[in-house]
């Protein structure tokens, strides 16, 4: 039941800026995901919120109360670490009870709380075990349990799934979403995995080089990326880019690139050199449209059952298209034409890489 507010928070180390000043308000019960490539400042941001790291400037508030320089223990937060950081010399029960013991909660209450949490996470049979006797997935659940027993205002999670194998990661992802729904807690979650961000976050903060690129719901980031980096980070396979130039021609906008010409409709004030961005799932093999064409040569075919991923060379550039498996896939070396479907096509300024327009293919 808590809101979090960052006001002009930044972290500067001797020779570089880890996090540039930013403002951010996290609503009560939100599942906020900080995502970005390694070294983007997401973990530093989380650690400033936890109190393990002091910001170089700015203020942090939880529930309107300033906690910028408050000790971690007095912030009423709980954290799940990437490598779980369980106490190796304590049993599962002791690990979960430790924070309560330090807060001088009476033994009976500790016992009920730990047992209840253990039941929720299916840990009852493991309470007497030591962390070294548990599998990675079990350790991860203990780390979660240790956070839950505290009933903190905010849960902080630092890449909690990255040490799990792929199958377990997907399963735990679902469990975490359910847990969030059940606890109705405010969660701040750090990951470098855009799929985790997309599936779990109610809102995503995408960072790069210490600077926030975009804040929004997963679908906002997917549909309306503010720049080329966001566009290329979200989605799997990521958005594809072709370089070229645009110019107005009657009521239409013409994109001209190497082996590629597209007749587009929509609002666009600028002209000149741009990047054109299309998501692989919005490309289809076709030759019907006379006014638009992307000509390429197939280099690799990846058939993953439900769909086929086609890698193409278009002039000197690479392009990936995701087509339904029902379509007869082309063969390696084939010359093919592809066209975007009705989904928006993103236009980025070549110099600033900022989004300048969202256009549609003209019939």
């Amino acid at each position: 039941m808590s809101t979090i507010e960052f006001k002009q928070i930044s972290k500067v180390y001797a020779d570089h800026t880890a996090v540039a000043p930013f403002d951010l308000t996290i609503a009560d019960g939100e599942f906020l995901v900080l995502v970005g490539p390694s070294g983007c400042g997401k973990t530093t941001t989380l650690r400033m919120l936890s109190g393990l790291e002091m910001p170089s400037s700015g203020q942090i508030f939880i529930d309107g109360k300033e906690i910028t320089h408050v000790e971690p223990k007095d912030r009423d937060i709980a954290m799940v670490f990437q490598n779980y950081a369980l106490y190796p010399h304590m049993t599962v029960y002791e690990n979960m009870a430790y924070a309560l013991k330090l807060r001088k909660v009476d033994k009976k209450t500790i016992q009920t709380t730990v047992n209840k949490t253990a039941a929720m996470l299916d840990l009852q049979k493991l309470l007497d075990r030591y962390p070294r006797q548990l599998s990675g997935g079990q350790q991860q659940r203990v780390a979660l349990g240790r956070a839950i027993v505290r009933k903190p205002k905010v849960f902080l999670m630092d890449e909690p799934l990255s040490n799990l194998d792929a199958k377990l990661r997907v399963q735990t992802r679902t469990e975490l979403i359910q847990l969030h729904n059940r606890l109705n807690a405010t969660i701040v979650y750090v990951t470098h995995d855009q799929i985790e961000a997309m599936t779990m976050g109610t809102r995503i903060v995408l960072m790069k080089d210490g600077i926030i690129q975009q804040i929004g719901t997963p679908m906002e980031l997917y549909r309306k990326p503010t720049n080329r980096f966001v566009a290329g980070f979200i989605g799997m396979p990521p958005m594809q880019f072709l370089s070229g130039s645009i110019k107005k021609e009657a009521d239409f906008i013409i994109f001209q690139g190497e082996n590629c010409r597209l007749k587009l409709r929509g609002e666009c004030q600028s002209s000149g050199d741009v990047y054109l961005g299309i998501r692989p799932e919005n490309l289809k093999l076709s030759s019907k449209n006379q006014s638009s064409i992307i000509k390429g040569t197939v280099t690799v075919i990846e058939n993953i059952g439900s769909e086929v991923i086609v890698h193409l060379t278009v002039g000197h550039e690479q392009l990936v298209a995701k087509i339904p498996a029902a379509t007869e896939p082309p063969l390696q070396g084939d010359s093919v034409t592809v066209l975007p479907d009705e989904a928006p096509i993103h236009i980025f300024d070549k110099a600033t890489e900022k989004t300048i327009a969202r256009l549609y293919i003209a019939p």
Binding site: S50, G51, P72, K73, M79, N83, A85, Y87, A99, R103
Partner: protein, 296 residues
């Protein structure tokens, strides 16, 4: 199956070959003297230290009925107490202090290794000068604080403590380095987790550092006890067991019995007792380490 057995046999033969040099050294310099001592302790000896007539357990009986032996035992125990506990506490304090990411900390870590490289004779001479009642620096400082001068090495009340100080100084570097390496195996995130859980510094020390350091602490404890049980150089150089037997630890008593009183069999009996004391400690250590060394 046959091939496997043959292979295993071949392997163990090869292993034995590699072990041979050390086994040989052990046999000549450890096992043989050990059995020779046991034998000597059961015989009467001549002036040259050769076994002459069989005495059975007579020397052990003599030893356990001698008040001097018990005095030696008491002094040894006190000496162990004076050196081991303060020595480890000091080393633990230093290790915790040095276990930080501060600039120039490497210099301090190197300094800790210095006492290790100074021979016992050298260290004894340094401390003899420092302990000098009239010109030594120790009494100089006492005087600064208007305290009475102490006869460090010639006062029976102080002699054992003075020797203990030298012993602590000599071993604190080693202990600190070992404890420091133990501290560095404790992941930083466990402390961070404890900080968030609500543990203040001293709680972290009690709940995290001490238990996770316990295997290392126990190792240092055993090594320190054995080390202090075997202290000889400082005593031989500075006090020769005196004044009035105040520093006559068992090792020194063995030396005196054997080489001054030419009572080799009695000295052997004493050394066998010392051997069993140390053996017991070593076994204890292995037991403990087996149980607790596999955190992770």
């Amino acid at each position: 199956m046959i091939a496997q057995t043959k292979n295993a046999f071949g392997d163990s033969k090869q292993a034995l070959l590699f072990l041979l040099p050390s086994l040989l050294l052990f046999a000549v310099f450890t096992f043989y003297p050990l059995f020779a001592s046991i034998k000597l302790s059961l015989y009467n000896t001549d002036l040259m230290g050769q076994a002459s007539t069989f005495a059975g357990f007579q020397h052990y009986v003599d030893m356990f009925s001698s008040p001097q032996f018990f005095q030696s035992l008491l002094v040894t125990l006190l000496f162990t107490l004076y050196t081991v506990i303060p020595g480890i506490l000091l080393a633990l304090f230093l290790a915790c202090t040095v276990n930080r990411q501060l600039k120039g900390i490497a210099i301090f870590r190197t300094i800790f290794a210095f006492p290790l490289s100074i021979a016992v004779a050298g260290a004894s001479m340094i401390f003899m000068m420092m302990f000098n009642p009239s010109s030594g620096i120790c009494n100089y400082f006492l005087q600064l604080f208007h305290l009475q001068a102490v006869f460090w090495l010639s006062d029976p009340k102080w002699a054992l403590i003075s020797i203990a100080i030298i012993n602590i100084w000599r071993s604190v570097g080693f202990n600190t380095i070992v404890l420091l390496s133990g501290l560095q195996t404790i992941p930083e995130q466990i402390y961070e987790s404890a900080r968030i859980d609500g543990a203040v510094s001293w709680r972290q020390f009690i709940d995290i550092t001490l238990p996770l350091l316990s295997p290392t602490l126990f190792f240092v404890f055993i090594v320190s006890v054995i080390n202090s049980l075997q202290t000889f150089g400082e005593i031989n150089i500075l006090t020769q067991g005196g004044p009035v037997d105040a520093t006559n630890v068992i090792v020194y008593s063995i030396y005196r019995e054997a080489f001054f009183n030419t009572n080799f069999s009695y000295a052997s009996a004493e050394s066998i007792i010392l051997f069993f004391m140390i053996l017991l400690l070593t076994l204890l250590e292995f037991r403990f380490l087996e149980k607790r060394v596999f955190y992770k």
